[in-house]
């Protein structure tokens, strides 16, 4: 028996409808996981092998090699603060509202420990508990 071939031809179409769905799913993933840096001050961070993800919305204390302090409560970009006194005031402003607010110390690797000691002192006296020392992973460029 001879089979009759159907005359209806299939239009060559690449189904692209679901591609946008996948792409938007990936966008949402990267949007959620990307934490935009509040501090773009160029500095050489210390390198460590062990690293943990910092908490989102953490307050940032930025210390450059020339001992300049910058501070952000976690929402806005960093601003210059007037020495350790200005930094202490800014830290107290954050801990007064929420004592469990996380803090990130972003300091240049060449900074003297004396400065870090002063910052830790202020954090301790303000009642802060959660502190992360920002670092670059070993092997990272």
């Amino acid at each position: 028996m001879r089979l009759k071939r159907s005359k209806r031809s299939l239009a060559p179409v690449i189904p692209t409808a679901s591609m946008a769905d996948i792409a938007f799913l990936l966008i949402i993933f990267f949007m959620v996981t990307t934490a935009f840096t509040l501090d773009r001050t160029p500095m050489e961070l210390p390198t460590t092998a062990q690293q943990e993800q910092t908490a989102k919305g953490a307050a940032v204390i930025s210390i450059t090699a020339d001992d300049t302090f910058r501070f952000s409560a976690g929402e806005e970009d960093v601003r210059l603060v007037d020495g350790i006194g200005g930094l202490a005031e800014a830290i107290r402003g954050v801990t007064a509202a929420n004592r469990l607010h996380p803090f990130i110390i972003k300091a240049d690797r060449r900074v003297k420990y004396r400065v870090i000691d002063q910052v830790l002192e202020q954090l301790r006296s303000a009642g802060a508990e959660d502190v992360t020392l920002l670092s670059r992973g070993e092997g990272a460029q």
Binding site: T16, A17, M19, A20, A23, F24, L26, I27, F30, M31, T33, T34, A35, F36, T37, L45, P46, T47, T48, A49, Q50, Q51, E52, Q53, T54, R99, I104, K106, A107, D108, R109, R110, V111, K112, Y113, R114, V115, I116, D117, L120, E121, L123, R124, G127, A128, E129, D130, V131, T132, L133, L134, S135, R136, G137
Partner: protein, 143 residues
């Protein structure tokens, strides 16, 4: 005369939507790559809590001098040997306290190097006393 209406297929053009979406993906991918959001985390003692939860004598005392040399329990030690020294102590007592004391003139990297080693060996009870706390506990401040 009868005018024949040409039928327009009903469809939403979605071909360019994927292009826009992939462009956004690339943007977020690059942004997440450049943002440094990782580091070494530690907890400061609670406000009403003593900085040292154990006696300084019962803890391992690591001192970092201004020239980055290490002294562990009053003995000079290389950074590479630190894990071998603390590892067995932690196996016997996983909650063994370690006090990390850094000279004020030492570079910050010297402190993070030791901190990193301690994290790798699994020290849970790490104390980083500030100058005021050192005075409080009668420990000398390193120069």
């Amino acid at each position: 005369m009868k005018i024949r209406r040409r039928e327009i297929p009903v469809e939403i053009p979605t071909a360019s939507m994927a292009d826009v979406a992939f462009l956004l993906i690339i943007f977020f991918l690059v942004a997440s790559f450049y943002s440094v959001t990782r580091g070494i985390q530690f907890s400061l003692p609670k406000h009403d809590e003593a900085a040292l939860t154990s006696e300084p004598e019962a803890a391992v005392l690591i001192e970092i001098a201004s020239d980055r040399s290490l002294t562990v329990d009053s003995r000079p030690m290389a950074l590479a040997d630190l894990q071998g020294y603390i590892g067995p102590k932690l196996q016997r007592n996983p909650t063994k306290s370690v006090i990390l004391q850094t000279a004020l003139d030492a570079p910050y990297q010297a402190m993070t190097d030791v901190f990193d080693e301690l994290r790798q060996v699994g020290v849970r009870n790490l104390v980083i006393p500030t100058s005021t706390e050192l005075e409080m506990y009668g420990l000398r401040q390193l120069k």
